[in-house]
């Protein structure tokens, strides 16, 4: 039983970690935490099921189309919900604009797709039981994203420009970096990562509109605890959260898992509002 707990915990934890990275990629480019992060994960599952099961596309084109569609949703988030708010004086309104946009996505899916969980296709022709693809696919996706991000950030000029904007947007603008284009690219990238989370974890979570807010919350927990913008914290936190949930549901039953997660989340945040690895706030006057 222990193996089952670990395997399923790591799998769901990898999905949380990917959503956490989605938050971070958007945050780094814009200092905005977007409620759409979890919705992108939900869309990864729904688009995957739609392209492959309903439209009958092969897996590879289905995956490419799914991730492209999620990239477009990421881009739309930037254009519709983030850019206008960043241009205004009240930047904190992003909480409301991204919430509204997330609700639009969620309700649209509920009405046009289904309000019930729908099956997600098996992606590969091998693997069963504990090494079932539904358990290791999310982990593989997580590893792939980490490697890809590392390559982008360390080996390409665009990636370095992402890092530069994340560290000091003002200095980046002074150097003449195309801040807006880079921000759009970041949001598209975040869309791909979020979509991949839902696509790789599709069999685990099914194609279900209500996964959106769930992922928004459980993907945010590791980010909040690990410190905003800290991908390592998000990965460790996500995996730990997945393991904790699976172990708790095995030991004490499903109901208390969410209560326990919530209590831990609040308790840690109250003790360390900047997260366990975050920096302290600046001066106020």
């Amino acid at each position: 039983m222990l193996e089952a707990v670990i395997v399923s915990g790591v799998a769901i934890g990898a999905v949380y970690a990917l959503i956490g990275i989605t938050y971070n990629v958007m945050y780094a480019a814009s200092r905005v935490m977007s409620f759409t992060s979890g919705q992108l994960g939900m869309l990864g599952g729904v688009f995957g099921a739609w392209f492959i099961l309903r439209l009958g596309l092969p897996v590879l084109p289905g995956a490419v189309l799914t991730l492209s569609a999620c990239a477009l949703v990421g881009l739309a988030t930037e254009i519709v919900a983030v850019r206008p708010v960043l241009a205004s004086l009240e930047k904190h309104l992003y909480v409301l604009s991204t919430l509204a946009f997330a609700l639009l996505i969620q309700q649209f899916v509920a009405i046009e797709w289904s309000t019930e969980p729908q099956p997600f296709p098996r992606l590969l022709a091998f693997g069963d039981a504990l090494i079932d693809q539904k358990f290791w696919l999310p982990l593989a996706a997580c590893a792939a994203v980490i490697v890809a991000l590392e390559i982008i950030y360390r080996r390409t000029l665009v990636g370095r420009a992402f890092l530069a904007i994340a560290e000091d947007g003002f200095a980046a603008r002074a150097l003449g970096l195309p801040e807006r284009r880079l921000r759009m690219a970041s949001y598209a990238l975040a869309g791909v990562i979020g979509g991949l989370a839902g696509f790789a974890g599709g069999e685990l979570m099914l194609a279900f509109f209500a996964n959106g807010p769930l992922l928004s919350f459980y993907g945010f927990v590791p980010v909040a605890l690990g410190g905003l913008g800290n991908n390592r914290g998000a990965i460790i936190g996500g995996l730990l959260l997945g393991l904790f949930q699976q172990a708790a549901s095995f030991l004490v039953g499903g109901l208390f898992v969410s209560v326990a997660t919530f209590v831990v989340f609040i308790a840690v945040l109250l003790a360390a509002p900047q997260g366990l690895f975050g920096a302290a706030a600046g001066r106020r006057v």
């Binding site: 560290e167 980046a172 002074a174 003449g176 970096l177």
Partner: protein, 245 residues
């Protein structure tokens, strides 16, 4: 054949109004810089020196006035246009990207250039600062404040600007390092680059500059050549007001 006469102003600011939100800091500033000239902008805190530089490089929107650079109007609030036109702004506080290696900091300064040109320009900029060249693969965060300031100046040079805006390059630097930075300025001037310098260390600033403007309350209150004999007394009045009683 170029139409503009050689002594024509490279930069011409007329009636510049700018500020932060509702707070108007500049109430109509007129200022000019000729090609290959070092001009120092002085003034007490809050007089609007940094605001002039930011409005000029497009980092701040303009509330009014016009800016002509190299014979063409400079569009407002567009830092990329300013960079492309040949204006490099080294902002205050040596804000380099501490997470990135020194070489990458410089590469980013040439973001729009083609790959080969970019690499060549980075080498060119590094040649000015051997101590940076020796540590090019280290993170900029590992540099001292003074070295970071040099890196910031080096970033400004990557684009081979026609006008370099320098905002308080001496802040936090030891006198030796200040002299190093100012030496670079002299070399730049010799190469025909114009410099608009905001600086707290007045004597050092006057030492390298050809002309000086003093700002007070968002207006130019003094404009003079640095070799004008009564300059110190005029400056003191501009800073502290008339001696009363």
């Amino acid at each position: 054949m170029p139409i503009s006469a050689p002594e024509a102003d490279l930069l011409e600011i007329r009636g510049l109004v700018a500020g932060y939100g509702k707070i108007v800091v500049l109430h109509g500033v007129d200022l000019a810089v000729r090609q290959g000239e070092v001009v120092t902008l002085l003034g007490a805190n809050g007089a609007g020196k940094t605001t002039v530089l930011r409005a000029l490089s497009g980092l701040l929107p303009r509330g009014g006035g016009s800016i002509r650079f190299a014979g063409a109007a400079l569009p407002p609030a567009d830092p990329r246009a300013a960079v492309r036109a040949g204006i490099a702004h080294v902002i205050e506080g040596h804000r380099v990207f501490t997470q990135l290696p020194i070489a990458d900091n410089l590469l980013l300064a040439g973001y729009d250039l083609s790959g080969a040109t970019r690499r060549a320009r980075v080498e060119e900029a590094l040649a000015e600062f051997p101590e940076l060249a020796a540590r090019r693969h280290e993170r900029a965060g590992a540099l001292s404040g003074g070295q970071q300031q040099m890196l910031a100046v080096a970033q400004g040079l990557v684009r081979r600007p026609r006008l370099l805006l320098l905002d308080e390059p001496s802040a936090g630097l030891s006198p030796v390092l200040v002299d190093r930075v100012l030496t670079v300025l002299r070399r730049l001037r010799a190469a025909g680059v114009a410099v608009l310098l905001v600086e707290q260390l007045i004597e050092k600033a006057l030492g390298v500059a050809d002309r000086v403007y003093a700002l007070a309350r968002g207006r130019v209150v003094l404009e003079a050549a640095t070799d004008a004999p009564d300059l110190p007394a005029r400056l003191e009045r501009a800073y502290l007001g008339e001696v009363s009683g």
